[in-house]
């Protein structure tokens, strides 16, 4: 099969080479595809195709392989579909006599080698799909899907259902049947993770973390508050009405450095002084908005605070 034809569509189909009528029917239905009987043949086929992709017009300079691979990965539009029967009670996909089992060190070595040589990014592949009946139907099958995703750095999918020739068309696995697939990112997602506390957060001054002012570049003018000014500012805040706001955080107008024991905490004045955004979980976590009871009074206090020198 000519390489350009194999890389012409959104799916690169690799079918298990074995004397099986159903697999042969699938290969005929797909048209351009690769047939392999084991790991060596798969490696050889993908390496040859990657080399062809490198030589194709517009391909990145081989001398900058890693950068090129990353660039290619960003523009990846193709899936690598491994198509075969599943064998054993663990429903592991087979290509020839090779069972793709991530618990098998030899199998891991095959995929690690592909990852180290950036073969999938060079081929523009953003997902690997293990297309065999119930390839995600067992704990071991799902573990293989997740381990391969971690190893290759791409999405990996399998299925909990039966697959057959009717799921394929010219060019590969038909998109209208993609609902049958389950992805590693879904399998790994923790269920029912709460996104926030059920009620409003209460501002506890003693629990605010100290933040090194020099380590944080203010995104707006910074004012240094005295302990007295800090007490006056926090007296304006409705301390039992803290909550996050979804979406992009509103830009701060002023950054306040509030003195705490042994350091400072940062507070951002947002939404015309209607809110102070504090960071009780640290600056790396989303800030919590607390409403300000008297924005005009807040502005008057801020007007009397000294400006901090620009650390930049």
């Amino acid at each position: 099969m000519e390489d350009p034809a194999l890389l012409a569509g959104p799916h690169l189909s690799v079918v298990s080479a074995e004397p099986d009528g159903e697999l042969q029917r699938i290969a005929r239905t797909i048209g351009p595809c690769v047939t392999v009987n084991g790991p060596r043949a798969l490696e050889a086929a993908l390496t040859r195709l990657a080399a062809a992709a490198d030589r194709a017009p517009g391909a990145a300079d081989r001398s900058a392989d890693r950068t090129a691979a990353r660039t290619a990965a960003r523009t990846a539009t193709r899936t690598l579909d491994l198509i075969g029967h599943t064998r054993t009670v663990a429903s592991l996909l087979s290509l020839g006599d090779w069972r793709i089992d991530a618990a098998d060190p030899a199998t891991v070595a095959v995929f690690r080698e592909l990852a180290e040589r950036a073969v999938l990014p060079r081929l523009g592949i953003h997902a690997l799909r293990l297309l065999g009946c119930r390839s995600a139907g067992s704990e071991r099958g799902r573990d293989t899907i997740c381990r391969l995703a971690a190893l290759l750095g791409v999405e990996v999918a399998g299925t909990r259902e039966l697959l057959h020739a009717g799921n394929y068309g010219p060019g590969g696995f038909r998109d209208e049947w993609s609902f049958l697939l389950v992805r590693a990112s879904e399998l790994r997602r923790p269920p029912d993770e709460p996104r926030g506390p059920p009620g409003p957060r209460t501002l506890e001054l003693a629990a605010l973390p100290a933040i090194a002012l020099a380590a944080h570049a203010a995104p707006c003018p910074r004012r240094i508050a005295s302990e007295h000014a800090t007490r006056r500012i926090l007296a304006l805040v409705r301390r039992a009405a803290g909550a996050c706001m979804p979406g992009p955080p509103p830009p701060p107008a002023i950054e306040l450095a509030l003195p705490l024991r042994g350091g400072h905490h940062l507070a951002h004045v947002v939404l015309d002084g209607g809110f102070l955004r504090l960071y009780p979980d640290g600056m790396a976590r989303p800030g919590v908005l607390f409403p300000v009871g008297d924005p005009d009074a807040l502005h008057r206090i801020i007007a009397g605070l000294p400006a901090a020198p620009d650390p930049r």
Binding site: E161, L162, G166, N167, E176, W177, S178, F179, L180, E186, R189, P191, D192, E193, P194, R195, G196, P197, P198, G199, P200, R201, R238, A241, A243, C244, M245, P246, G247, L271, D272, G274, F275, L289, P291, V292
Partner: protein
């Protein structure tokens, strides 16, 4: 302005007539003595995304897209291979034509097709507005389907309801839990699970991107 309200109902598929054509019961058929006269015909191809793509008219829409396409329906979406027990989110006209009972607001969504709200959708929630400050409201939300139970709220957030709530339905008043229809994009940042339909199924992740997004 075209808008359609969808209602989430439990579905047991009782007959399959084609890749997307089926008949379904809205109750466990074992409790209906497998009464085939109570089956409802449905074409799972008559979806929101089909209307947005211009393949059918808005008036022809019967059902929301499948969960794998950003919708909330979980039966099908094609056979063989599609699910036969799950949720079906049917349009208001379909609901009325089939004399089905509308579930509460937590099992409703509103889809706009054109006009100012073009291709926006809003999901029904149980919510309580605790207080307001300027244009923001401090809103306590329940995961969809849990607002009428003893479950704790999913969380509390400051929200700009003028930007993120359905303009055609009144926002909740202060203090009392009430219906709130929230924009899909905002809602997907707040809650994590979809309603359990039928009630005995496990929870599904909340849709991250609606059909046509």
């Amino acid at each position: 302005m075209s808008k359609v309200t969808f209602y989430g109902l439990p579905a047991w598929v009782g007959a399959i007539h084609g890749p997307t054509a089926c008949e379904w019961w809205d109750h466990d058929p074992a409790q209906l003595s497998w009464d085939r006269s109570r089956l409802h015909p449905l074409d799972l191809a008559k979806t929101v995304s089909a209307a947005l793509a211009g393949q059918i008219s808005v008036a022809q829409v019967e059902v929301d897209d499948h969960a794998t396409k950003g919708g909330r329906t979980t039966i099908g979406p094609r056979w063989p291979g599609g699910a036969t027990i799950g949720a079906v989110w049917v349009s208001e006209s379909y609901l009325q034509a089939n004399q089905l009972t509308a579930p509460s607001h937590e099992f409703q969504l509103i889809q706009y097709f054109d006009g100012e709200q073009q291709n926006r959708r809003f999901y029904g929630f149980q919510a309580s507005v605790l207080q307001t400050q300027n244009q923001l409201s401090l809103v306590q939300l329940w995961h969809p389907g849990t607002g009428a139970t003893a479950a704790p709220p999913a969380g509390t957030w400051w929200l700009d309801l003028s930007a993120s709530a359905d303009p055609s339905t009144p926002p909740p008043g202060a203090g009392q839990p009430a219906p709130l229809y929230l924009d899909a994009k905002a809602a997907s940042q707040l809650v994590t699970v979809d309603p359990k339909i039928p009630t005995y199924v496990g929870t599904l992740p909340f849709p991250s991107a609606p059909p046509g997004a």
